[in-house]
């Protein structure tokens, strides 16, 4: 597998300075020094609580937001160094599936116009070809062909999300960023959409960055998972590793929060996270997680841990990584 995307030292801070007189500059570091890479054909899940910067990260990669610092190397080019017109053309290769299917479709456009828009923007099709392409896309995402002339308000959330997915895959992009694509949907619909995304990924050899706020959703589709906390990635490893041998206490907390339907399969101890995420304008010193960490030491309050490879392909930023087997799934279990 070759590398498709590499993010190096990505930072985004928002100026949140308030007041005219006491003007002390204050910044919210939504994404704070994040580096990772994504291989072709891989699905990288990104999880974290609300406000941890995962959506900002997605918006930075797709260039909806301008990073403060860092490089985004996509397909060998640094997207930040591209002149506007070239970036606009490059957008063909990166697409996004949005969280809220009710706001991501223009209420004044028909399904045909919505799905045809990317094709019209980047290709030259005549009317017949365009219609043909759109109909095929509708087949692929499981939309009835007769919906061609309908407007978004006539659809349910799940169907709207299918329209959004059709729009995203229309250009056969190399990378799709799914920004919590199922969290706005009914539970019964969530798995349908997840299965659709999974199926498309296999059939079209797509690469996803899959953003979600809980582990259950990403578990289904991801190859590797990155856990974010307060603008930083605290753990990054394969899905198997993460669920069987988490190293960061935050990951452990997230894992314990997953409900297990079978009572006999439950472990005795649950380490549920306590407290709230600290104010990102004033992050704690040292390890950002130490305010909520059950294992914290004096070192954690003082020194910020580095994000390094602790085991083979298993990165974490923790002074006291957990021992193996702390996950909710034991090594031999299937999931």
């Amino acid at each position: 597998m070759s590398q498709l995307l590499e993010v190096k030292g990505l930072k985004k801070s928002f100026d949140v300075t308030r007041g005219l007189i006491k003007r002390k500059k204050q910044y919210l570091h939504a994404v704070n020094d994040v580096s990772f890479s994504v291989q072709k054909g891989e699905v990288l899940g990104i999880v974290g609580e609300s406000g941890c910067g995962k959506s900002t990260l997605g918006n930075l990669i797709i260039q909806l937001l301008e990073p403060t610092e860092g490089e985004i190397i996509f397909d060998g080019v640094d997207l930040r160094k591209l002149p506007p017109e070239q970036l606009r053309k490059k957008r063909e290769d990166i697409q996004m599936v949005f969280q809220d299917p009710f706001s991501s479709l223009n209420p004044r456009k028909r399904v045909f116009d919505i799905i045809a828009e990317p094709l019209k923007t980047h290709g030259s099709y005549n009317k017949v070809e365009l219609e043909h392409e759109v109909l095929q896309l509708m087949d692929v995402v499981g939309l009835n062909r007769s919906y061609l002339n309908r407007y978004p308000h006539e659809f349910s959330g799940g169907q709207r999300q299918r329209i959004g997915i059709a729009r995203a895959i229309a250009l056969k992009p190399k990378l799709i960023i799914c920004d919590e694509p199922v969290s706005a949907l009914d539970v019964s619909i969530q798995s349908q959409i997840l299965n659709l995304l999974k199926k498309l990924q296999k059939e079209l050899q797509l690469t996803y960055i899959f953003i979600a706020h809980g582990l259950p959703a990403v578990k289904h589709v991801s190859d590797r998972i990155a856990v974010m906390y307060l603008g930083k990635i605290v753990e990054l490893t394969t899905k198997e590793n993460l669920f069987t041998n988490p190293m960061h206490p935050y990951t452990e907390g997230l894992l314990s929060a997953i409900p297990i339907p079978d009572p006999t399969a439950r472990k005795d101890e649950r380490r549920l996270l306590e407290g709230d995420i600290p104010n990102p304008v004033n992050p704690p010193t040292g390890c950002a997680f130490h305010t909520r960490c059950p294992y914290k030491t004096e070192l954690c309050e003082r020194v910020e841990p580095e994000f390094t490879e602790k085991r083979d392909g298993h990165f974490t930023a923790c002074h006291h990584p957990l021992k193996e087997g702390k996950g909710i799934i034991s090594q031999h279990e299937k999931y």
Binding site: I62, Q63, L64, R88, K89, K90, R91, E92, I94, Q95, M96, F98, Q99, D100, S103, S104, L105, N106, P107, R108, K109, R110, F112, E117, P118, T121, H122, K127, V128, E129, E131, H132, L135, Q136, L137, D139, V140, R145, L148, N149, Y151, H153, G164, R167, L171, L204
Partner: protein, 298 residues
């Protein structure tokens, strides 16, 4: 993707007009509005053939004649005559030309400027936005009528200048409304989606923002056709609008104002004409706003 499907054609419908017509006939107010507006347009175009008399023919022996149903009135002057013996019905029929022309074209002109400014200022923000909004503020700081007076004084009175002046002084309200709408809509995900697709700014503005803000414009614009007709009459009253013997509803109205106590029909009928015209335009605008929203279609 499977490529075995046969090419199909013409599943995408393009019959917007058909849909509109269907909706028009279903909506009572829409039909009434359209009928009123069409009637007035018809009257304006065919005024010379419809009016029983020339609008400026004076008849000193036949002044202040009441409408036909009152004592002293007859069918020769259906709506009576004014202080110079001119036939009121004929004057109203001829007046519709100027009133309609000024009312609608200045609103359209103001609308085009205002909507464009609002769209671009709202979407691009930054310096462009700051510049146009401060310009709009300075326009708001001066009373419209005063600004119009100054401009008419400089350029000289006349029909075309009147339209231009009214258009240029009224763009501010549209620009502000549209800008506000754009500010909220441009943060919606479908606009962000268009950006990630790589749609050009120009296309985002005209194919995503414009259709979503235009209904607010229509509501304000239909209401301000009325105020423009009145504003035209005030300017004409001050001698800076249209010049006699040209006639508009506004001028008939202000001519009749002096005789309200004795000959009420001088001012009442042109006033009624304005009211009916405005109602028709508002009904039509209301319906237009509804049909432009796909959600109102079943």
């Amino acid at each position: 993707m499977p490529d075995s499907l046969p090419m199909q054609n013409n599943l995408v419908k393009n019959s917007k007009w058909k849909r509109w017509l269907k909706l028009l006939l279903r909506s009572k107010t829409g039909t009434v509005g359209l009928l009123i507006v069409l009637t007035i347009v018809f009257v304006a175009i065919f005024a010379p053939w419809l009016a029983p008399y020339e609008h400026s023919v004076i008849d000193p022996l036949n002044t202040h004649k009441p409408p036909f149903w009152m004592e002293g009135g007859d069918m020769a002057n259906v709506l009576g005559t004014d202080n110079l013996g001119r036939d009121i019905l004929s004057r109203i029929i001829y007046g519709s030309q100027v009133s309609l022309l000024v009312g609608i074209s200045s609103v359209v002109l103001a609308g085009v400027i205002g909507v464009l400014v609002g769209l671009f200022a709202g979407y691009f923000g930054g310096f462009l936005d700051a510049f146009f909004m401060r310009l709009a503020d300075s326009f708001l700081a001066i009373p419209n009528i005063l600004l119009a007076l100054v401009m008419l004084g400089v350029f000289g009175p006349g029909l075309m200048t009147l339209i231009l002046v009214l258009g240029v002084t009224n763009w501010v309200q549209y620009a502000r409304i549209i800008r506000g709408e754009v500010l909220s809509i441009k943060e919606r995900d479908f606009v962000r989606a268009a950006k990630t697709i790589g749609v050009k700014n120009r296309n985002i503005i005209f194919s995503h923002l414009y259709p979503n803000v235009i209904s607010s414009f229509i509501v304000v614009a239909t209401l301000s056709v009325a105020s423009t007709i009145i504003l035209e009459s005030s300017l004409s009253f001050l001698g800076l609008g249209i010049q006699p013997p040209q006639v508009s509803w506004g001028t008939i109205l202000s001519d009749g104002r002096d005789y309200l106590a004795t000959s009420w029909w001088l001012a009442t009928f042109p006033g009624l004409a304005i009211t009916i015209a405005v109602l028709g335009i508002i009904f039509l605008g209301d319906w237009l706003r509804d049909v432009m929203d796909p959600r109102s279609v079943k």
